[in-house]
């Protein structure tokens, strides 16, 4: 009789124990791979907050600083880029497209980005995903605003609602642009990027709400109504930063150094990927924490698996004695137990992976909407290694009962005392 069929038949006899063990292994694998996927996808998601953009240009500061204020909306720009510099960058032959970003206003804690409709075309995130509208459309009127998904869900806004922007980024007691209310023209679908927590309006709108302002205060006696502002020259004088797309990636370094050496104004061009990498390095502690969690999950999961496997051995002492008596060698007994633990581990691994895939498929949208986390259904690169480790440990776990059975069968002889 083949060892495999003997093992399978024996396992069929112990359905409950086998199911419990497989479940334990499946749960361990599920947790282990789940933590690993969240970890990898958190990093990947972070690294691809901006994708498809070749250069990020702002006033000269540091790469991380530029990235923080222009993309992550953390902190404030120290300086702006003049409209002329922006036009000069736009006019460079290597440049395919630019998306201007003008920051400085907010609405109930969410930042307002002044931009143009190219933003919805060229701002990509993740694996080259463009922004999508959950409802409505891009701004068409001067006083139209497009809100991110988080803004919509937290403030319960929908298309057609009127909102008033505040001057500056602080919390309370901000001067408002109450005279020039905006209409929500569109709500963006969740992206898991800072776009979710921002409001996009046109550059001209940013200009319009500030026509009667100077140096951060509203000029008395110079008020211009919303309607009057429509007829004024709304060409921006300055913007905060710009996303730049090139015809060819190969020219990125050349364009970067050309912008960094721009004679009329100190500018800084950075490769977003490089700057994101630097930033991730800073916040990488979270990743290390997840790694520690992974290791603990592995330890606990494997202990549980070993406990379940060892528990089963007790039931099998008599079986082993019988097999020994009919001529099975101690090595055969050992092989039977290792085979069983390997089978249980493999079954548990398959169940765990299936469970994980099912869960990610089901929870994908929920996680994106609530945690801003894009969990990919593709296996993370480190998963195979983890699965190999689990399999090795599972088989090794079988060696322990195998070794105990070996020792016992020598001591017990053919007598099994119960």
């Amino acid at each position: 009789m083949r060892l495999l069929s003997l093992t399978l038949k024996s396992m069929r006899q112990r359905k409950a124990g086998v199911a419990l063990t497989v479940f334990t292994v499946a749960l361990s694998v599920f947790l282990l791979l789940g933590v690993e996927r969240v970890r990898t996808d958190a990093r990947l998601g972070f690294a691809s907050t901006v994708s498809g953009t070749d250069l990020l240009v702002g006033a000269r500061s540091g790469p991380v600083t530029l990235l923080l204020y222009s993309i992550f909306h953390v902190g404030e720009a120290t300086n702006n880029i003049t409209w002329k510099s922006y036009q000069d960058i736009r006019a460079m032959p290597e440049v395919a497209w630019t998306v201007p970003l003008s920051l400085g206003d907010s609405h109930r804690g969410f930042r307002v980005t002044g931009t143009n409709s190219d933003f919805f075309v060229h701002y990509h995130y993740g694996r080259g995903n463009a922004l999508a509208f959950a409802s409505g459309q891009p701004f068409s009127d001067l006083y139209d605003a497009v809100i991110g998904s988080e803004v919509a869900s937290q403030l319960r806004y929908k298309v057609g609602d009127r909102i008033v922007l505040s001057h500056g980024l602080g919390g309370a007691n901000l001067a408002t642009h109450a005279d020039k209310p905006f209409r929500v023209s569109g709500v963006l679908a969740p992206t898991g990027t800072p776009v979710d927590a921002s409001i996009a309006v046109s550059l001209e709108a940013i200009e319009a709400i500030h026509v009667d302002w100077h140096s951060g205060i509203r000029l008395p006696g110079m008020e211009a109504s919303a309607e009057q502002a429509r007829h004024m020259d709304l060409t921006p004088k300055a913007i905060t930063a710009t996303l730049v797309g090139l015809h060819s990636r190969l020219s990125a370094f050349a364009v970067q150094s050309a912008i960094n050496d721009y004679p009329e104004e100190p500018l800084l061009a950075v490769l977003p990927g490089v700057a994101l990498g630097e930033l991730w390095h800073l916040v990488g502690t979270a990743e290390s924490a997840l790694r520690v969690v992974s290791a603990m999950v592995l330890l606990v999961g494997m202990s549980g698996m070993l406990t379940a496997l060892l528990g089963m051995l007790g039931e099998r002492r008599r079986e082993m004695a019988v097999l020994r008596a009919v001529g099975a060698s101690t090595r055969t007994v050992f092989a039977l137990l290792v085979m069983e633990s390997t089978l249980l581990t493999v079954a548990g691994m398959i169940a765990g992976v299936v469970l994980l895939d099912a869960t990610t498929a089901v929870a994908h949208n929920y996680l994106l909407a609530t945690a801003g986390l894009v969990i990919d259904q593709n296996p993370a690169p480190g998963e195979w290694l983890l699965l190999v480790v689990v399999l090795a440990l599972g088989s090794l776990a079988g060696c322990i009962p195998g070794w105990i059975a070996y020792r016992r069968s020598l001591a017990d002889g053919l007598q099994v005392r119960l």
Binding site: M1, K9, Q13, A325, G327, G413, L414, Q415
Partner: protein, 233 residues
């Protein structure tokens, strides 16, 4: 007789238990091919240990066991396992079947680890299954019983017959039996023993039968009292 065609011989067997307090010294035993031997001793006289030593599962502390002129002490553990699979059948006191196999599968387990015994039992799976069925019928277990799928549903007496068939399939040279009738009542015990010994005679299988019940001695060629005494270790 036993010197002409020796099946089994022991030489100055001694066994010490790992706890150190007890030890067992055994008088030399001998049996010829096809001879049935009744080993009699009270409980605790080391009968099961002796069978473990004769089966080559336990290694003696000193002395040697020779079966078919082959010395266990000269063999490796793996070689002893092979030898046991080829030449020995073993019947336990009780609970000795794998409940998740069918009765026929349990019987066939007896030659699972021995090509030699498979050959003697017919070689092909079909023939071996037929031989297993024949053995079960000869031992008093009809087709209506063994065709039931679950071994665990059989009565103790029926299980003991399946165990005997497993020990006998493929005609081993020596059958070791450890009180296999203790769970049976007197009449079925005698009937079972009679059938068992008849089957042994067909194959020329020698028997070492261990029991505390002297009433069984009359079925055997020879009776040996297990005169072992605890010795100082």
């Amino acid at each position: 007789m036993s010197t002409a065609q020796p099946l089994l011989r022991t030489r100055a067997l001694r066994h010490f238990w790992p706890d150190g307090g007890h030890a067992l010294a055994l008088e030399d035993l001998a049996a010829a091919r096809g001879e049935s031997l009744f080993l009699h001793g009270p409980s605790g006289s080391g009968k099961s240990t002796l069978l473990g030593l004769l089966a080559g599962v336990l290694a003696p502390s000193s002395g040697d066991v020779l079966i078919l002129d082959t010395s266990f002490s000269s063999m490796s553990a793996a070689a002893r396992d092979r030898f046991r699979a080829n030449h020995l059948g073993y019947i336990f006191q009780q609970f000795n079947l794998l409940p998740f196999l069918t009765p026929i599968e349990n019987v066939l387990l007896g030659c699972a680890w021995s090509a030699e015994r498979r050959k003697r039992a017919g070689g092909t799976h079909v023939r071996m299954a037929a031989e297993a069925q024949r053995l079960l019928s000869s031992l008093g277990l009809g087709a209506h019983v063994w065709s039931r799928t679950k071994t665990g549903e059989l009565s103790v007496g029926q299980q003991q017959r399946v165990a005997a068939a497993r020990a006998l399939i493929g005609g081993p040279a020596l059958l070791l039996a450890d009180e296999p009738t203790s769970a049976l009542d007197a009449s079925s015990r005698d009937a079972f023993l009679k059938l068992l010994l008849e089957e042994c005679a067909i194959y020329g299988t020698g028997v070492v039968f261990v029991s505390h019940d002297l009433a069984l001695a009359r079925h055997f060629d020879r009776t040996v009292a297990l005169a072992s005494a605890p010795v100082e270790s």
